[in-house]
């Protein structure tokens, strides 16, 4: 958020690119991606048959590639893309390419200080590369990329031993573990999932399966004393080394801290999140079979939803919780791929247990204002995108819209949108949405 203070919050509207014009120039335009501040819009374009490159605000890079994908703007507004030519993949940051080349690159992410990290494969070795510097140790396989909160460490679930397909006994001895900056935990497990860093970057927790049946949480390779029928991803409590994860007991799912239950039993619990102040914890729960809601500190909202509730989001002051929710009136009706069944698959936003009155074809994650008083999100209605604030849908619909951003004072909104085939950056006072 701090960077947004330096953004242009005065200019009401900037027309940055006429996409119609761009469309005429290229065979194909894909992955339309605006920068966070909205000043730039990038795309993968195909200037000639089977050659791809990137284009920012209408300006094309003169290098072309066989493949380009995974466009993202770094916080410093540099465009990062994964590019492939002559059988080699590398990362391009604006118009500069990493010297190191790979057989494959994926899961590209940024560290908070603006470095580029990704899972990489080179020869038979899998690992992680940060700004072109690859882990010294390669692994048989590396899945997922987890970056520590300050960006100094990277981790991945890795396989340490090559086993033949069909060697079920070898597999069950455990060949998976966690590697941090290429260094593995001492212990291996049958499975490792849901790796997460502590807030001080010093510790790692993950879900592990000890054999085919016993699940638990491992912190820095040391497992909880208790094992469970199943577990889901752990999180560290902010400012501490306490680890909280959903566990499955014969009585149902509950949330456990360091192996001991801290909540009552539910049909399901997952996606638990701590409030910014670290004092409250919210999670998606099913208090009854087929009913979904959010529980905060163990108490579920009174209102539940038939289909699903998406991960909870705390307000900056830690006092409010919002989540996207979905309901269907006729769950057993024959569905259709091309049409909506009236009354079914309706999305909305619920704030502190109260859903907005209106529902939508799709909603994006709720966003709290810096003062925590307002909630807004992007919604889709009949193929057009709108901004909805506290349940009220904005006047203007767009062909494309990216997540709106609050100004630091919470008075204005940065809107990055496409209207009439043109990309606009707009700054709109909240009252005028």
């Amino acid at each position: 958020m701090s960077e947004s203070a330096n953004w242009d919050w005065k200019t009401k509207e900037k027309l940055l690119v006429d996409l119609n014009e761009l469309q005429k120039k290229f065979i194909d335009i894909r992955e339309l991606t605006p920068s966070d501040d909205g000043e730039k819009i990038a795309a993968v374009v195909q200037p000639e048959d089977k050659r791809f490159t990137t284009c920012v605000n209408g300006e094309v890079w003169d290098e072309t590639f066989e493949k380009v994908w995974s466009l993202k703007f770094k916080p410093d507004n540099k465009l990062v893309s994964l590019v492939f030519r002559d059988f080699e993949w590398t990362v391009a940051v604006d118009h500069e390419m990493w010297e190191e080349k790979f057989d494959f690159i994926w899961n590209m992410q940024f560290t908070p200080d603006g470095r580029v990290a990704a899972n990489v494969k080179k020869g038979d070795d899998y690992g992680v590369s940060v700004d072109g510097k690859t882990w010294e140790n390669g692994f048989v396989e590396a899945r997922d990329l987890i970056i520590s909160p300050n960006g100094t460490k990277t981790a991945s679930a890795v396989s340490t031993k090559r086993i033949k397909e069909g060697d079920i006994f070898g597999f069950q001895e455990g060949v998976w573990t966690v590697a941090v900056d290429g260094v593995t935990w001492d212990k291996t497990f049958v499975n490792v999932w849901g790796v997460t860093f502590s807030h001080d970057n010093q510790h790692l927790a993950a879900e592990v399966r000890l054999n085919l049946y016993d699940y638990t949480i491992a912190v820095d390779g040391k497992t909880w004393e208790e094992t469970f029928g199943c577990v889901w991803e752990p999180v560290f409590k902010p400012g501490s080394y306490d680890v909280v994860a959903p566990i499955k007991t014969p009585q149902g799912w509950t949330l456990a801290m360091n192996g001991k239950p801290i909540w009552g039993n539910f049909i399901q619990i997952w996606n638990q999140k701590y409030s910014p102040d670290g004092k409250r914890i919210a999670a998606i729960v099913a208090p009854e079979y087929g009913k979904w809601t959010i529980a905060v500190d163990g108490s579920p909202w009174a209102r539940s939803f038939s289909d699903a509730v998406l991960p909870p989001i705390f307000s900056p002051d830690s006092k409010r919780v919002a989540a996207a929710a979905k309901e269907s009136k006729y769950p057993f009706h024959m569905q259709s791929a091309l049409h909506n069944i009236p009354g079914n698959d309706r999305y909305t936003i619920a704030v502190d247990g109260t859903p907005w009155a209106e529902d939508f074809d799709m909603v994006w994650d709720p966003i709290f204002s810096p003062g925590s008083d307002k909630v807004l999100t992007k919604v889709e209605k009949n193929g057009r995108y709108f901004i909805a604030i506290d349940g009220r849908v904005g006047r203007r619909g767009f062909e494309a819209l990216w997540n709106p951003v609050f100004s630091p004072d919470g008075e204005k909104l940065l809107i990055r949108c496409v209207e009439g085939g043109k990309y606009y950056r707009r700054v709109v006072p909240i009252g005028e949405i």
């Binding site: 049909i267 079979y289 087929g290 057993f332 024959m334």
Partner: protein, 225 residues
């Protein structure tokens, strides 16, 4: 033994308290079985949310109508025997004149009754159906393979009240009183056996059918008949 069967005291006992006991055990026992089944079903969580009255009834209807389902149509003889057997097994005792007289004597209630000759035929249908099922159990390999002594026992439990009723009515084999006492005893045994044996299918069958009908009809959009 024979004298015992002829005694007034025994008659009074099987005609009096034992009837009460038999009905009590049957009704309370079956009710308890239903109750515990539903409690278990609630605990299993994934059953009741998928029950549908419409599709449950649709399924039941197709299976209680002769030839209403594909498998009934595939086995005409079994279907005919099965339906006749069950209809006669259930309705003969309820609408039998002499049973009605007993209800009337005991509780002052009565209803329409079957002509005696019809009831006689229906009784014989049950008797011969039992024989048919017995032979099927022995002869048909797929049935023999899954046959346990308990299957013969259940068949016998169904068979005895009817055969003794028939013999008593026609005063064959044993003196009327003795045969009647046996008949009553076997009838009561059957009632008592319902909640404790697989004769409970007469109670559970509706539920299993309705559940499968609901899953097939409401969730999967297909027939189950």
């Amino acid at each position: 033994m024979f004298e015992f069967l002829m005694s007034e005291a025994v008659y009074k006992f099987v005609r009096g308290p034992l009837v009460w006991i038999a009905f009590f055990v049957c009704i309370v026992g079956s009710a308890y079985r239903i109750y515990s089944m539903i409690s278990l079903a609630k605990k299993e969580k994934v059953l009741l949310p998928y029950l549908s009255l419409k599709y449950g009834l649709r399924s039941i209807l197709h299976w209680i109508i002769p030839f209403g389902s594909i498998n009934w149509r595939r086995h005409p003889i079994i279907t005919i025997v099965t339906f006749l057997f069950h209809i006669c097994l259930v309705f003969t005792p309820i609408f039998l004149l002499s049973h009605n007289i007993l209800w009337y004597e005991s509780w002052g209630i009565s209803w329409w009754t079957l002509p005696e000759s019809t009831a006689d035929i229906m009784t014989l249908i049950v008797v011969f159906s039992c024989v048919f099922f017995l032979f099927r159990r022995i002869i048909a390999s797929e049935v023999r393979f899954v046959t346990y002594p308990s299957d013969f026992l259940i068949l016998t439990i169904a068979f005895l009240p009817f055969i003794t009723g028939f013999l008593a009515y026609h005063q064959l084999l044993l003196p009327y009183r003795a045969m009647t006492i046996l008949h009553i005893l076997f009838g009561e045994a059957m009632l008592i056996a319902i909640p404790f044996s697989r004769i409970i299918h007469m109670v559970f069958g509706w539920f299993t059918r309705a559940y499968t009908g609901s899953e097939f009809g409401m969730v999967r959009h297909v027939r189950d008949y």
